[in-house]
């Protein structure tokens, strides 16, 4: 068993039922994030030094809130996919790898959902 290469061990087990899904979703979110990031960067610059009420006024628009939710959803998903690849590439001790993957996964969900809920909260007028 220990003499087998990783390839030798998985040969004959059949498909992982995964294929290009991860790669494709990374690219789809990347594509979506191009216009969203540009919009975000321009908006942030325009909001430099804005007061709390100006910020609320800005996010009160369904377009702004909608774009922000899209940015957050695509961004956090893209982040989760990317961090997963980085961890899988550099962390080779199994329990550390699994732990890191779980932390990234939970962190992205928690932070992403909290941010989206904050946007919706502001948009609906608190």
């Amino acid at each position: 068993m220990s003499m087998q290469s990783p390839l030798g061990r998985v040969r004959g087990l059949g498909s992982a039922k995964n294929g290009t899904h991860h790669w494709w979703h990374q690219r789809l979110t990347a594509l979506a994030l191009i216009p969203l990031t540009l919009w975000f960067a321009i908006s942030i610059v325009a909001m430099t030094g804005a007061s709390h009420s100006a910020m609320l006024d800005w996010m009160n628009s369904p377009i702004v809130a909608g774009l922000m939710v899209l940015l957050l959803a695509a961004g956090f998903y893209h982040l989760k996919l990317g961090m997963q690849v980085v961890i899988e590439d550099y962390v080779h001790v199994e329990w550390q790898k699994i732990t890191a993957l779980i932390i990234v996964q939970f962190g992205c969900w928690a932070l992403g959902l909290a941010s989206i809920m904050a946007v919706v909260w502001v948009w609906t007028g608190g």
Binding site: S2, S5, P6, R27, A30, L31, L33, I34, T37, L38, A41, V45, A46, M47, T48, G49, H52, S53, M55, L56, M59, M68, L72, G75, F76, L79, G82, M83, V86, D89, Y90, H92, V93, E94, L111, A114, S115, M117, A118, V119, W121, V122, G126
Partner: protein
Amino acid sequence: MADVNRPLSPHLQVYRPQITSILSVIHRGTGVVLGIGTLLLAWWLIAAASGPEAYAQFNWFISGWIGRLVLLGFTYSLFYHLCNGIRHLFWDIGAGFELASVSATGWVVVIFSLGLTGLAWIAGYYMRGAL
């Protein structure tokens, strides 16, 4: 998994640095930085939802020199990852793989990411009335 002690993936110690490899490392690095930067983004949004006091606290942090330094790093990471990400998408459709164009587009990414960062910060200071 690691019963055969072979190097499995990008091992940077034995790879001669070149524009392609350096930019590739920076792409990953900026990706991780942006991941950490989402804490800032989440803080900003949650502060706005929490009320004027929480928002003032965020504004206090981000206007300070540490906050500005962090934001500068975040801005550069964002523009770098955006520009180089577009470069990656062109590779994904099979374009720009010749060695000459790989290094040329690499330099374009370097120039654009620095330029856009500068532009955003000048515009930001202008918005604050500091320019």
